[in-house]
C-alpha cells in the first residue's frame, strides 16, 4: 500500500470541499466546506508523516486541528453576528467588499 492512494483520497476530499465552498449559498454551509478542505490537508499531513517517518507532520496536523476549531468558533460567531445585523446568511448578499 503506497502513499499515492492517500494523497488521491485527500485530493478528492479537497475538491469536494472546494465545490462546497464555491457553491453553497448559506454561510454555515461554506464553513462546512472549509472544514472538509482542512480535513483533506490533515489527511495529507498524517500520510506524509507516516511515509517519511517524521513526527513533524503529525504535530502540524495537530496544530491544524486546533486552529481549525478556533476558526470555526470565530467563524460561527461572525455568522451569528451577521445574522443579527443583516437578517440573512445568504453569501450572495454579503458583498460589503464590492468595489
Amino acid at each position: 500500500m503506497g502513499l499515492q492512494p492517500y494523497l488521491l483520497l485527500a485530493a478528492c476530499l479537497f475538491a469536494i470541499g472546494l465545490f462546497g465552498v464555491l457553491t453553497r449559498r448559506n454561510a454555515i454551509g461554506i464553513l462546512l466546506g472549509i472544514e472538509l478542505m482542512l480535513n483533506a490537508v490533515n489527511v495529507n499531513l498524517v500520510a506524509f508523516a507516516r511515509y517519511a517517518a517524521d513526527p513533524a507532520g503529525l504535530i502540524f496536523a495537530l496544530f491544524t486541528i486546533s486552529i481549525t476549531v478556533a476558526e470555526v468558533a470565530l467563524g460561527l460567531a461572525i455568522v451569528i453576528l451577521i445574522f443579527r445585523v443583516r437578517r440573512t446568511v445568504e453569501a450572495d448578499r454579503l458583498d460589503l467588499l464590492k468595489g
Partner: protein, 606 residues
C-alpha cells in the same frame, strides 16, 4: 595702482557710491532735492577726475579676475584708459553733470520720491556709461552696455503711468536687445577663436596675424549688430524717436550725447579688429550713410520738436558710422564728441521751450524768440552747429566726416551724406523758424528758464562755439585732409537748406502743403516711418505672440492633453475593472482556484 588708475576708479566710484546710497537709504531717496544734490556732487567729482585724467594724458590698464577658472581667470574686469577713453570720459561726465544740474530745475514739480528715483537712475547711468567707456575687454563692455540700456529703459519709462512712456520704454529695450543678441553671440564666437575678451590681447593677435581672418567677418558683423541697436542704425533705429517719451534731460543725456554714441565708441574701440574685415567696414559705411539720409527725411515731417531732434540724432549717428566705415576713425570719433555737445545743447534748449509752453508740438509754438531770448540764442547756436556752419564745432567734424568718406572711396554714401547736409539744415531751421519766429502763437506766458537750467545751456553753447573757434583759429579739423572743395560744397548745401526753410516757413513763399504734394509718395512714406514700425509690430504680433500662443496651445492641449488623456483612460479602465470586485468571497475563491491551476500548469509547462 598708479595715479591714472586712481582717477579712473574715482570717476567710476563716485557715482557708484551715490547710486548705492540712493538705492539703499530710502529716506535720502525720498527727500528728492537732497538726492539730486548728492547725485550732482558725485558726478561733479567724477567730472573733475575725468578732466584731470584727460589733461594728464596718462594711460593705464588694470584688470581683476571676475570669472575664476581652472587655468587662470576666464574673464576679468578692469580699467583701460587711453586717449580715446579719456576724452570720451570727459564728454560723458560733463554732459551727465550738466544734465543732472539742469534736471533739478526741469523736474522741480516732481514729488520727492520720484525725484530721488530719477537721480538714482541717473547715477546708475553715470556708473554704467563710465564703466563702458573705461572697459578693457568685450565682456565688461557688454555688461555696462546692457546696464546703460537698462537705465535708458528705466528713464524712458520714468513717467510709468503714461501708457505711451511704458510702451516706448519696452520698445527701446527690445529693439536694442535684438542688436545685443548679435553682440553677445559675437563676443562668444570671438572668445571661441581667441580665448580672450581683452582688447589689448586681441589687438596684439590682430597685429601679428594669429587671429585667422577667415570667418572673422561674421564675428565682427555680429558685434557690429550691437552697435546697430544701440546707435540706432537702420533698421533698428525705430526705438529712438519713441524714446522721447522720457523726460527731456534724459533724451539729451542718454538719447543724444552719450548712450547712443556707445555703438560708435564700440566700433572705435574694436577698430583694429574691424580693420581685418573690410567688408564689414564697408557695410558699416553704407548702412551709416543710408541711416543718415533716411532719418533726415523722417525728420522733415515731424511735428514734435523732440522727435525732430531724435531723427536728427539718428542721422548724425549715421554720419559717425559712415566715417568709421570709410576708415576715417578720427573723423567719426570727432563728430561723436562735437555732436555730443551741440545735440545735448539742442535737447536742453528744446526742454526749456517745452518747460515754458507745456507742449512738444512745433505748430503750437511760435515767436518764442522774443519771450525767451536766451533760449533762442543757444538753440540757434546748436542748430547752426548741427547744420554745419562755420566756425561752429559741427562744421569741422562734419567736414572731416565728409572728407573721410570721400577719401574712403565710398562715393554713393558720400552723395547720400551730402544730401543729408542739405536736409539737416532744412529741417532744423524749419523748427527754428516755427518755434522762435514764424507766425504761430504760443499759449501762456513763456519765459526763460531758471539759472540751474540756463547755466548748462550756456556752458554747452560756449563749448560748441569754443571748440569750433579753436579749430577755426588752428585751421582745419583734426584730420580732414579731403579735397579742398568739400567744405565749400557742404557749406553751400547747408546754406541752401537754411534758405529753403526760411522761404517755406518764415516767408511762406512756398507753402509746406505744396511741398508735401510735390513729394507725395515720399511724404506719405515718411509719415508712416517707411512702414518699419508697422513691420516690426506685425512681426511682434504675428510672429512672436502668435507663435507663443501656438506653443502655449500645443503645450496645454496637446502635450499636457496627452497626459490628461492617459490619465482619463486610466480612470475609465479602473472604473471598468472595479466591477470584477463583486464583494462576494466565493467569487474571489474562483480566482484563488484559477491561480492554483495556473501554478500547477505552469510548473508542468515544458
Amino acid at each position: 595702482m598708479n595715479d591714472a588708475g586712481t582717477l579712473a576708479l574715482a570717476a567710476l566710484g563716485l557715482p557708484l557710491c551715490a547710486f548705492v546710497l540712493l538705492a539703499v537709504v530710502a529716506p535720502l531717496r525720498r527727500a528728492g532735492k537732497a538726492a539730486g544734490a548728492l547725485g550732482i556732487a558725485a558726478i561733479g567729482g567724477a567730472l573733475v577726475a575725468a578732466l584731470v585724467l584727460w589733461r594728464s594724458g596718462q594711460g593705464v590698464e588694470l584688470a581683476w579676475s571676475w570669472l575664476p577658472a581652472e587655468g587662470g581667470p576666464m574673464a576679468t574686469v578692469g580699467i583701460l584708459v587711453d586717449p580715446v577713453a579719456a576724452v570720451m570720459l570727459v564728454l560723458v561726465a560733463l554732459v551727465s553733470f550738466l544734465v543732472q544740474l539742469y534736471s533739478l530745475g526741469y523736474l522741480e514739480h516732481e514729488t520727492g520720491p520720484a525725484l530721488g528715483r530719477y537721480y538714482a537712475y541717473h547715477s546708475l547711468f553715470a556708473v554704467s556709461m563710465i564703466g563702458l567707456v573705461l572697459a578693457g575687454n568685450f565682456l565688461q563692455m557688454f555688461i555696462f552696455w546692457e546696464l546703460v540700456g537698462l537705465c535708458s529703459y528705466l528713464l524712458i519709462g520714468f513717467w510709468y503711468d503714461k501708457p505711451e512712456a511704458a510702451r516706448a520704454a519696452v520698445k527701446a529695450f527690445w529693439t536694442t536687445k535684438v542688436g545685443d543678441l548679435g553682440f553677445i553671440i559675437g563676443i562668444v564666437l570671438l572668445w571661441g577663436r581667441a580665448g580672450t575678451f581683452t582688447f589689448s590681447e586681441l589687438f596684439k593677435m590682430a597685429g601679428d596675424g594669429t587671429l585667422a581672418p577667415d570667418g572673422l567677418g561674421l564675428v565682427m558683423f555680429l558685434i557690429y549688430l550691437g552697435a546697430v541697436g544701440k546707435s540706432a542704425q537702420f533698421p533698428l533705429h525705430v526705438w529712438l524717436p519713441d524714446a522721447m517719451e522720457g523726460p527731456t534731460p534724459v533724451s539729451a543725456l542718454i538719447h543724444a550725447a552719450t548712450m547712443v554714441a556707445a555703438g560708435v565708441y564700440l566700433v572705435t574701440r574694436a577698430y583694429p579688429l574691424f580693420l581685418l574685415t573690410p567688408d564689414v567696414l564697408a557695410l558699416i559705411g553704407w548702412v551709416g550713410a543710408f541711416t543718415a539720409l533716411l532719418a533726415a527725411v523722417l525728420g522733415l515731417v515731424q511735428a514734435d520738436i523732440k522727435r525732430v531732434l531724435a531723427y536728427s540724432t539718428v542721422s548724425q549717428l549715421g554720419y559717425m558710422m559712415a566715417a568709421l566705415g570709410a576708415g576715417a576713425l578720427g573723423a567719426g570719433f570727432f563728430h561723436l564728441l562735437t555732436h555730443g555737445l551741440f545735440k545735448a545743447l539742442l535737447f536742453l534748449g528744446a526742454g526749456a521751450v517745452i518747460h515754458a509752453v507745456g507742449t512738444n508740438d512745433v505748430w503750437r509754438m511760435g515767436r518764442l524768440g522774443g519771450a525767451m531770448p536766451q533760449t533762442a540764442i543757444v538753440f540757434l547756436v546748436g542748430t547752426l552747429a548741427l547744420a554745419g556752419i562755420w566756425p561752429l564745432a559741427g562744421f569741422f567734424s562734419k567736414d572731416a566726416v565728409l572728407a573721410g568718406v570721400w577719401e574712403g572711396g565710398l562715393t554713393v554714401p558720400f552723395l547720400m551724406l551730402a544730401l543729408t547736409v542739405f536736409l539737416t539744415a532744412f529741417y532744423m531751421f524749419r523748427v527754428v523758424f516755427l518755434v522762435f519766429f514764424g507766425a504761430g502763437r504760443a499759449e501762456g506766458h513763456p519765459h526763460d528758464p531758471p539759472v540751474s537750467m540756463s547755466l548748462p545751456l550756456w556752458t554747452l553753447a560756449g563749448l560748441t562755439v569754443g571748440v569750433g573757434g579753436y579749430f577755426a583759429l588752428r585751421g582745419g579739423g583734426q584730420e580732414g585732409h579731403g579735397p579742398g572743395w568739400i567744405p565749400w560744397v557742404s557749406s553751400a548745401l547747408a546754406v541752401a537748406g537754411i534758405v529753403c526753410a526760411w522761404v517755406t516757413y518764415q516767408k511762406q513763399a512756398v507753402s509746406a502743403e505744396t511741398l508735401a504734394r510735390i513729394f507725395a509718395p515720399l511724404y506719405t512714406a515718411a509719415q508712416r516711418k517707411f512702414w518699419l514700425d508697422d513691420f516690426y509690430g506685425a512681426v511682434y504680433r504675428g510672429g512672436f505672440l502668435a507663435l507663443s500662443r501656438l506653443v502655449g496651445w500645443v503645450d496645454r492641449y496637446l502635450v499636457d492633453g496627452l497626459v490628461n488623456w492617459a490619465s482619463a483612460w486610466t480612470l475609465r479602465v479602473g472604473d471598468r475593472l472595479r466591477r470584477i470586485q463583486t464583494g462576494r468571497a466565493q467569487d474571489y475563491l474562483y480566482g484563488v482556484a484559477f491561480g492554483l491551476l495556473l501554478v500547477i500548469v505552469w510548473s508542468y509547462w515544458p
